[in-house]
Structures are given as C-alpha cells and as structure tokens.
Symmetry: C2
Subunit: 237 residues, 2 copies
C-alpha cells in the first residue's frame, strides 16, 4: 500500500498554535519535509514543530530558491516532488510543513499538484493551520471583520496605487508582505485618511514580534519581511 | 487579582482542529461560557470541546436570540457581559467559546467590547481558531488563493446582485451563509460563467458534512445554514 501525503499548516510562529490534528500527524508520519531557501539558516516551519518531534524523526529539506523566475521555480517543485515520491510509493507517510495555512498563499499547492501528476494514486490530506492574519488580529484583540462586513486579503500589491481602489471597495483590508512598498503604502493610507485605521504586526508569536499602531513612527526603518498591515474602519485603540 | 477573559476559537467542527493553546486554556479556566440560541438544542461550540472538558468544569450558557433587531441584541450582549463580570472581578478565569476564529464574523467582539466598557482593568486574551473556510479548502485540497491572487471573503450579500461586481473584482471569493439566497447565487454564477469554478461545503468536519461540486444538483433543495461556497478561478476537479 502506498503512503499518504499530508500538507500540514503549522501556524505563524507560536508552537502552541498548532492544531491537535497537526500535532498527532507529525508524531505519526515517517518523514517530515520542509522547504528551505538559502536566505534562511533553518526553516521557520521546522523550528515551530521542533518541540513536538521525536528525536529520531527523519527530516527532509527541500531546497527552494527565493526567485520569481518561473522556470527555476518549476524545476525546484518538480525536483522536490520527485525527491518525495519514491518514499510515498514504498508506503512511507510523508508530511510537508507549511507556515500558516496550506490553502492561503502557500507553496504546498505547487508541490501537491506535481505529486498528483506524477502518481494520481497517492492519497493526500490537507490539515488547515492558523493564518498569520488570524494570529495578528487575536494578538491585538481586534476583529478582522464583523457582522456583514467584507474582508479583502491582499498578498502583494503589483502596483502600490491599486491600494486606493481596494480601500474604496472594502472597509476591512489585510495587506501582507508590505516591507518592499512600505513608504508608499503609508503615503496612500495618509492620503486616503485611513492611517488611523491601520496597525502593523511583525513576526506575530515569534521572538522578534512587534506591534506598531502608528505607522509613521517606523517610516524610516527597514521593515521586516514578515509584516502585515490590518486596516479596519473605526478601529479604536 | 482579577481574572482573565479568554476568547477561544474552537474551529468549525472537528475537535482535532482545536489548537494546543485553546486546549490548554480550556483545561485551566474556571468557567467556560457558550452562547446559545433557542434554535439550537445544544451549543455546537460546546459539543466540539466536550471531549476535552473535565467533568466538573463549570459551563455557563449565555442566551442569545437569533435576531437582527439591534435593541434586542444590545440588551443580550450587555446582559451577558454583566453575567460574566462578577466572576472575573472575583478572580475567576473565564473562557468564551467561539466557532471558527474569534476575529472573523464572531459575536465575541461584541461581548469583549461590553466587558471592557464595564471594567477596563479586565485583561483579555484572544486565541485564534481554524476558520470554516480554511477547513473547507483543506477538506477538498483546494487553495483559496495562490501567489499574488487576492481573496475576498463575503459573509452575506445584502443584495444578491452585488455578486456580479465582487466576481469582477476578485478571482477568488468565499461566500458564507449562502442558504437564504442560494437559487439566486447559482443563477448569477451561471450567468457570469463561474459555475465551474464553484464548490459548496456544508458543515465541514461535522457529522452532516457535504461537498457539492455541481451546485445545480442541489438547486431545488433547502440548503443547510452552515454552508459556504468557494469560487476559485481555474479550479480543476
């Protein structure tokens, strides 16, 4: 019998935010896979689950370049799928760790697609995880959306000027990966009179966590890659 | 010393989708509070955590009418806050259970605001939970949004014709609470050529779970209240 492939959401940083299910599966599987880039010393997803792993658990690192180049990405995902597949075919249970939730902006999807393509018989189970946005909102006791309000989640702005339209359409917005365009985002929020509605959370639940209520205070700083901004109409702080 | 007030997300239905943190706090608190409406026999949130509760745990039911009337709602939330407050003030730890995640469309926010208003010294901690949308997407191994795609979460449509505009703005949409307007939603999805991109998940992780890939098949049925539709461009099923 072939092994099962699990996509496990491990949450944004705090090991206690793993689900009971993800914890159980982590203990049961034969192999734990983590994507790792050259920029990282160690996988953050792996460090989150470290307290729970048996000492003799087999950990497989999948090297993933941090690039936008589609050919390179395609090659690394196909390579990773080919690296994992033999273990599944010989009946091993394999879990792939993903920060946050596997259904939201995760590279897990790419790997899943390639494994299913190579061997459609492999059974897959996705285990949801706590997203960085849910953890950030909880950290500051702030609702992301109430009642019949809509919520728009924006993983990245191609053109920062899109933000004006997004703010007009939705009263509640979460902007992820804000570090690159941070000064422009602050400028637009100020221009639209929404700076008072915004709060930034960096590395939620991790050792270097920061909560910034007034974005102007950090306007000159280099913003951490793992930062998001919650914009909620009528936030009272 | 005053007690702490916890808002605990318990996920959408499967008890294993509780976080390790929520599980720990449930065991530690003195009182577990659950909202209950006349329509329910027992609180669903309570039934999710039942396997984990000590037998002698004090459970407090907060009666919440299912109404849109703001005066009635205001009175019930204020009443609930007044019911809980004396226990907090005498040093008891109190957890309020919320289905899914406390930051997303939860009545927890209303209760939290009223408790803080009555006694600003009460310390509050919100513990995030798995949302029904993350669980539904995981259940069918489907990403809600990939790469730089946006995700729009719509808790309810005031006017069903709004849907046309929402579909034009965002390639990935989750419609929650779809039961009342279901036939009209199907009509619009068909008209916009998006029926192939839609999948409905009812009571994810609960005993009466259903996954419906072709919405036309259930067009004549009464749709369960706990149903959501995921619309994702290019879904391959």
């Amino acid at each position: 019998m072939k092994g099962k492939f699990y996509g496990l959401g491990v949450g944004p940083g705090d090991p206690e935010l793993l689900t009971i299910k993800a914890h159980r599966i982590l203990r049961e599987v034969d192999i734990v896979c983590v994507p790792i880039s050259k920029m990282e010393q160690e996988s953050l997803a792996l460090s989150i689950v470290k307290p729970y792993l048996q000492e003799d658990k087999l950990v497989m690192e999948l090297h993933m370049p941090m690039t936008q180049d589609e050919t390179t990405l395609e090659a690394s995902w196909s390579g990773a799928a080919e690296q994992i597949l033999p273990y599944l075919q010989e009946g091993k249970q394999v879990a792939f760790l993903t920060l946050g939730d596997p259904s939201l902006f995760s590279t897990y999807t790419y790997l899943l697609t390639r494994i299913k393509k190579l061997d459609p018989e492999i059974v897959v189970e996705t285990v949801p995880g706590i997203t960085s946005l849910a953890a950030a909102a909880a950290r500051i006791n702030l609702p992301l959306a109430e009642g019949e309000e809509r919520l728009t989640i924006v993983p990245a702005l191609r053109d920062v000027d899109e933000l004006t339209g997004i703010l007009a359409e939705s009263s509640n917005v979460v902007l992820m990966k804000v570090s690159r365009q941070f000064p422009e985002i602050v400028r637009i929020l100020e221009q639209e009179g929404r700076l008072e509605d915004a709060v930034m959370v960096t590395r939620c639940g991790q050792p270097r966590e920061r909560i910034i209520g007034d974005l102007r205070q950090v306007a000159g700083e280099k913003i951490d890659y793992m930062s998001l901004i919650i914009i909620k109409k009528g936030v009272v702080r």
